[in-house]
């Protein structure tokens, strides 16, 4: 509850809060500004703001001359694909743990989370070799698999947290009404959990989109998503600052927008319901 405060104090705190917020946001803002400057203007010293020459050229060029659209499309396929595949495995699992809990349910959840603590780099070579063996290197399906596995524990945890809030009686009612297990999940649980499933999906897409280890290690060109593309984007002597900024802006904008929509769920999701 907000308490009544004096107008003077309100002005002061507003000023302070906005200053802090703008400082935090400034790097993103500066990048976006740079993306609209000419290359010369981008590296001008002292930095140009009002007097800069503005242009859309960078976006046009990045989109047309680099393979940007392909990287972008790879990112979409990998993020969405791994999320959907993960949901197919996670929903039944979370259903079972939320509604038919056993003595070991909590241990199982902990174990799943602990798989996320394993340093990815420790298993890099085996995964690389396995990918080589099965022809998965630099394929989108390969990355979909790896990112799905990487985020599966979070997916299960989040869904579990949301499912726990659905009263078990409703599922029992469905059972009494003659619904098979499949119908119970399809007609009753899933529609009731849609908001939870949606925010879980959103968060998982964000995590997958921003992943920057496996995407760098396991792809070269064909299946490389934006994170790998940006990581390898070299800017020798700042010759391509404006274009780099434009490419970066295009890489983060979709996720920034998705993220802004899901910031409330982010807290619940990533803290597994421990902070509400």
């Amino acid at each position: 509850m907000a308490r009544a405060v004096s107008p003077r104090r309100m002005i002061l705190t507003t000023l302070a809060a906005w200053t802090v917020a703008l400082i935090i946001f400034f790097p993103v803002l500066w990048m976006i500004l740079t993306s609209f400057k000419t290359e010369a203007s981008a590296v001008a010293s002292p930095p140009e703001l009002l007097g800069a020459s503005w242009t859309l050229e960078n976006y046009v060029e990045v989109w047309a001359r680099s393979d940007y659209p392909r990287f972008f499309w790879n990112s979409v396929v990998i993020a969405v694909g791994s999320t959907l595949l993960g949901l197919v495995i996670a929903i039944p699992s979370a259903w079972a743990m939320a509604f038919v809990p056993g003595k070991r349910t909590k241990d199982l959840l902990m174990w799943m989370l602990s798989t996320k603590m394993m340093p990815a780099v420790a298993v890099m070579v085996p995964i690389y070799l396995l990918f080589l063996q099965f022809g998965l290197l630099d394929t989108r399906i390969g990355l979909v698999l790896v990112l799905m596995l990487m985020n599966l524990p979070i997916l299960i945890w989040m869904l579990y947290t949301y499912f726990k809030e659905i009263p078990a009686e409703i599922l029992e009612a469905a059972r009494m009404d003659g619904a098979s297990l499949w119908n119970e999940i399809l007609y009753v649980l899933t529609p009731m959990a849609i908001p939870g499933i949606a925010s879980t999906m959103l968060l998982n897409i964000i995590l997958a989109w921003n992943e920057a280890f496996w995407t760098i290690v396991l792809t070269t060109t064909k299946a490389a998503p934006l994170s790998a593309f940006i990581a390898s984007f070299s800017a020798p002597q700042g010759l391509f600052y404006a274009k780099l900024s434009a490419a970066s802006a295009m890489a983060i904008l979709p996720i920034l927008i998705l993220g802004w929509f899901s910031q409330k769920q982010l807290v619940r999701g990533l803290t597994f319901g421990a902070v509400k």
């Binding site: 009686e169 409703i170 619904a179």
Partner: protein, 329 residues
């Protein structure tokens, strides 16, 4: 048809025997109420009949067929839950039609049955609303509607009125009784409220710690309780129990007298009025009687006594006698 027979039904959760072993027959068309204090196993027993829990051992027959290992859907029973358990994302119409849809019934028949149930339950004008837009009583009726469309062998009610406020509860109680008159289907009803049990039941099953204390009609339980537990549980205010010398006079370890079976005016017992409550139609007083303890007395109309008055009391009705084990003599 809806005869339900339990034979040596036992349920344990791990080491704990929630129900150590129950034999019970529920006749077709009967309105049976399971009543008892919380934790007595009445809800568990209902869930065993529903098939939402496994029996640890024993047999449950429904209509003469062994249903012990059948899944809930195959038992032909319908259940009304305490929280109503309506599907919040479906309209009232879809809620009521859900069991029919699951049974694969054709759309025309579904519509016909939903319309019939809705008119019986006065829900016709709410069919396109969602449960969230309904009052507690209306939700309750939707839950009942969802149960009756299937024309089940028996209805199971799990404390269905406990979420309603007092006034609504009386109304719904009568509606459920009327529904039973109309449908003449077996109903098994769980409650902790003995007033519900007394007013609705053909047969009451009093449960305590997973055991059946007594089975009988409401008035049998009132007049001839088999033991102290039943005597104390049925009837409001609670029966007075007196031990010691006064009980020995009647050749018992303990005697019990219902508050309404004590008259104020003249008599062998004398004491001081503590609490007195005057409802107009009835008066309840607590009298501190030396040697006997506090006696609850219920009198018709105005008793005209107040806190601090000295009154004389006399037993004027049946005196229940119990032995040292609490069994009626």
């Amino acid at each position: 048809m809806g005869k339900i027979q339990l034979t040596k039904v036992r349920k344990s959760f791990g080491e704990v025997d929630v129900i150590p072993g129950i034999d019970l027959t529920i006749e077709d068309g009967e309105f049976v109420v399971f009543v008892g204090p919380s934790g007595c196993g009445k809800s568990t027993l209902l869930r065993l009949i529903a098939g939402l829990e496994d029996t640890t051992s024993g047999v449950i027959d429904i209509d003469g067929k062994d249903a012990t290992n059948l899944p809930p859907a195959k038992r032909g029973l319908a259940m009304v839950f305490q929280s109503y358990a309506l599907y919040p994302h479906m309209t009232v119409r879809k809620n009521i039609a859900f069991p029919l849809k699951m049974a694969g019934m054709d759309q025309a028949e579904q519509d016909k049955r939903v319309a019939r149930a809705a008119s019986v339950l006065n829900l016709s004008s709410y069919l396109d609303r969602r449960p969230g837009q309904l009052s507690g009583g209306q939700r309750q009726r939707v839950a009942i509607g969802r149960a009756i469309v299937r024309e089940p062998a028996a209805f199971l009610f799990d404390e269905p009125l406990s979420n309603l406020d007092a006034a609504l509860r009386v109304g719904m109680r009568q509606e459920i009784s009327e529904l039973h008159q109309t449908l003449k289907t077996t109903m098994v009803y769980v409650t902790h409220d003995q007033v519900e049990a007394m007013t609705m039941a053909d047969k009451i099953v009093v449960l305590n710690a997973g055991r059946i204390e007594q089975v009988g009609s409401p008035l049998t339980l009132y007049h001839e309780p088999r033991n102290k537990f039943v005597a104390g549980f049925i009837g409001s205010p609670r029966m007075n129990f007196i031990d010691g010398a006064e009980a020995a006079k009647h050749g018992a370890h303990t005697i019990g007298i219902r508050p309404e079976h004590i008259t104020v005016g003249d008599g062998p017992w004398e004491g001081v009025v503590g609490l007195s409550e005057h409802l107009g139609s009835d008066s309840f007083i607590k009298v501190e009687v030396p040697g006997l303890g506090t006696l609850n007395v219920r009198g018709p109309g105005e008793l005209g006594v107040h806190h601090g008055d000295r009154v004389k009391l006399a037993p004027a009705g049946k005196i229940h006698r119990f032995d040292a084990e609490g069994l009626a003599i």
